[in-house]
Subunit: 187 residues, 2 copies
Amino acid sequence: MRPPKVEDQALLDGLMAVLRAKGYEGSSLNELAGSSGLQKASLYHRFPGGKKEITLAVLHYVHEWIRKYIYERLTDQSLSPAERLGDVIQSIHSLYQGGEKSCILKALSMDSSVELFREEIKESMQRWIDGFTALGVDYGFTRDAAQEKAFQVLIAIQGSLIVSKGLGSTAPFVAAVEAIEKMYREV
Amino acid sequence: MRPPKVEDQALLDGLMAVLRAKGYEGSSLNELAGSSGLQKASLYHRFPGGKKEITLAVLHYVHEWIRKYIYERLTDQSLSPAERLGDVIQSIHSLYQGGEKSCILKALSMDSSVELFREEIKESMQRWIDGFTALGVDYGFTRDAAQEKAFQVLIAIQGSLIVSKGLGSTAPFVAAVEAIEKMYREV
DNA sequence: GATTAATAACCGTACGTTCGGTAAAATATA
DNA sequence: TATATTTTACCGAACGTACGGTTATTAATC
């Protein structure tokens, strides 16, 4: 009996979970297989390029997620800036499970793996920054001020996730997200 | 001819360089040996507990560094708060080579390795925060406000290092450090 | 019936770790 | 002071295991 096909989304979700938690070098094919619901050999059927192609596929999936749930929502002219920000804050909360999960862009930013995925990581970060820059402009800031705020947002998310992980408490992440809301709303 | 003893500091510097760049899982004993100037077997003479003991030794070394160059300088009552901040900013710049090097606390904060080193990572981060909290108090902030600023400093450093790595530019780190200086001085 | 998707079994390599042994330095003995 | 002993520091080679990756085969789908 051949099991039914494992669908792309479930597959990528499982693969991403391992990569974000263990990084590129730390993720073994056995773990990737176990978490994706496929056997090792089946992963090679789906991704003939092996671990690197798996990681690129996950990064593409993440990039699309950011485009859809961060960038497009932040630039949706049918909503007010405040509504957009609220939506996106919610998306960010669920993406990182309130500060308990790591960011895959960080996990793949080790010196040893960043060389392999430099472009993909850069594009995803840039899209994130572009979205928040657009939001800032719609809030009435100059383009420069808006971009500076956008960098602060990305830095605060990434930094607070690390501090949360290091201190073993989600409080820094939660506080950082609240500070981001204030940063835009109190103007 | 037996080679001369590799001194502790050189040894730990070499080991740290690998661990901060590649993380725990990503650092092989061969690389650690190569970077430290010892053979693999000699590393086991120095650190009978293997890779884990090596990493703990490096974390202890880092903790002492933070105590000496961050905490003690930030609490040195013989200098003005502004002088202390300037000193420590310089230390931070050299620690991360202006944004080009990663933070070992981040590198060991992967889900897979954080379990092994939770206490050591936490202590180092806490010492960092305590130092900047003391500085904020001496700048005239309330204890709560000072602690909030201290968290912001640590988060900004960690976050900006990731964004710098991801975007392939040290500009975010440099800007974040400047923003930290402003945060204290413009009050 | 051809193609697609899955698997079990397997491969060579690199991993972390251990072992046996040697050279230098330090200490004790004469 | 000269010799014997112990300790320290290093290394080459090998261990069993787990790695990333491959092949041959089977079963469901188009």
